[in-house]
Symmetry: C2
Subunit: 278 residues, 2 copies
């Protein structure tokens, strides 16, 4: 499997938690304090936090975003997540304002008890994000932690069925989906992406407002059968967890004679990668 990275111990029925809160713009220390408080209550193997949970979202310009961005090898936020992962004995996925030399990325990072494991950089940038961040350049990595295969997407990626499908073809059990959603559609839509692709999706959304943006909360965990297992408040901080059944995400049989992969007709899909953008 391309990009497969293995880490940690096996859990046949891992517990997945969503944490929803309102990061404070540009203030990593305050966001660490908020998370420190919220994470006390969590018992889970994999915890998913919102997009850009380290720094907040609505920077007025690139310079402001740059000032509080961190590189993965020298990050107070990752040191904090590592300490939490160690004390809770879990893995944490979080949105992360990532600096790599002079570039910024809207990333999702995976951290375990021993520290940083890997990252995904948001492929589809929303609205004015391209004034600040570079488009993701790391493809769609898959990680093996807590006995499951984990894929990462960030927020607006949800509107692109292509990336969900690719993660399914890479045998992902769970897509961790840190988000800062300003519209309410995604929370319904992920149930259909989960059903068509037969995996779990954990969409951890934020709450609160920044400037004219109001975030819609309502974080969800959905099952490979398209059921919504957890749904968070739309306004309040929220922590929810659920033990997931990996036999569901590993059963790709749609009928006794159709499996998700074998029933595909890739020879019919070439238009998806050959079409010009305009």
């Amino acid at each position: 499997m391309e990009n497969l990275k293995s880490s940690g111990t096996e859990a046949l029925s891992p517990t997945v938690a969503l944490v929803q809160f309102a990061p404070l713009l540009g203030n990593i220390e305050s966001n660490i304090n908020s998370l420190c408080h919220l994470l006390k209550a969590v018992k889970a193997d994999v915890i998913v936090l919102p997009e850009l949970a380290s720094t907040g979202y609505a920077f007025s310009n690139r310079s402001d975003a740059f000032q509080c961005a961190e590189s993965v090898d020298n990050s107070s936020y990752i040191r904090f997540l590592t300490s939490q992962a160690a004390s809770l004995n879990c893995f944490i996925v979080s949105g992360f304002n990532e600096r790599d030399e002079n570039n910024l990325y809207n990333s999702a990072i995976l951290v375990g008890p021993s520290g940083f494991i890997g990252k995904y950089r948001k492929i589809h940038l929303f609205w004015n994000e391209s004034d600040i961040f570079e488009p993701g350049d790391l493809g769609l990595p898959v990680f093996e932690v807590a006995g499951l295969k984990l894929g990462l997407l960030v927020c607006f990626d949800w509107m692109f069925p292509e990336v969900w499908r690719i993660l399914a073809l890479k045998d992902v059990d769970l897509v961790a989906h840190p988000s800062n959603l300003v519209l309410p559609f995604c929370q319904q839509a992920v149930a259909v992406h989960a059903l068509c692709n037969r995996f779990y999706i954990a969409t951890a959304n934020r709450i609160g407002s920044e400037g004219s943006l109001h975030f819609t909360g309502g974080s969800v965990l959905v099952s490979p059968l398209g059921e919504t297992i957890i749904r968070g408040s739309v306004e309040e901080p929220f922590v929810g967890s659920h033990t997931i059944d990996l036999s569901l995400s590993r059963n790709k049989n749609i009928t006794p004679r159709n499996t998700l992969k074998e029933s595909r007709r890739p020879e019919c899909y070439t238009f998806l990668t050959t079409v010009e953008k305009k």
Copy 2:
């Protein structure tokens, strides 16, 4: 545009109708009579009928299916649809048990006032259908009728986000989706496919039972905003119509700086067509 075929006059706000009924297995004449009765009440520019509306679905073997299959150039069913399209001044999409020399296809045909216009052959065959039908070999054609760009899919194709996306990339306004659904998931899922792809979807499902199969009715018309505009009964014959707004299906702006096509990253999607099936 690949496969674009033009026919008929323009209508800025075409009306789309769904017709739901219970075809009788192997009996084209009876099904023509049922439709003759139902179509009397319809005023629409495009009418969508269920999958295999000419002959029913659950053939016990290929020979039974073959006996009532028709070729498009000598079909009592297409002659009937043509007469209806002429008298109603409309276009009709219907599921069709198609014979082409010794092959059978689970097809969707498009018929207008002047006769047969074109066809799609179901790409993703469900369960035991592959004992009877050949997999579709005509790609995903697009037709221009009644002032709109029309794509065709059949039933189980709904679980494959790839084909919806390709039709969006071909600028389709409406996907006509003749179906014989035995599960209730699709009727919810098409709203998300419509939203992610910004087109209308008309899923015309059948009702009734054949052998151990019970069909779930509930035909739906959904909008490019993911709204369900029409929802049919789950048990009864149903005719519903709605005038659609093509400005919605032609507006592919997701934000002022994101369009459906330009925000895609096809260079990141090559796994969709290069991955091996097993």
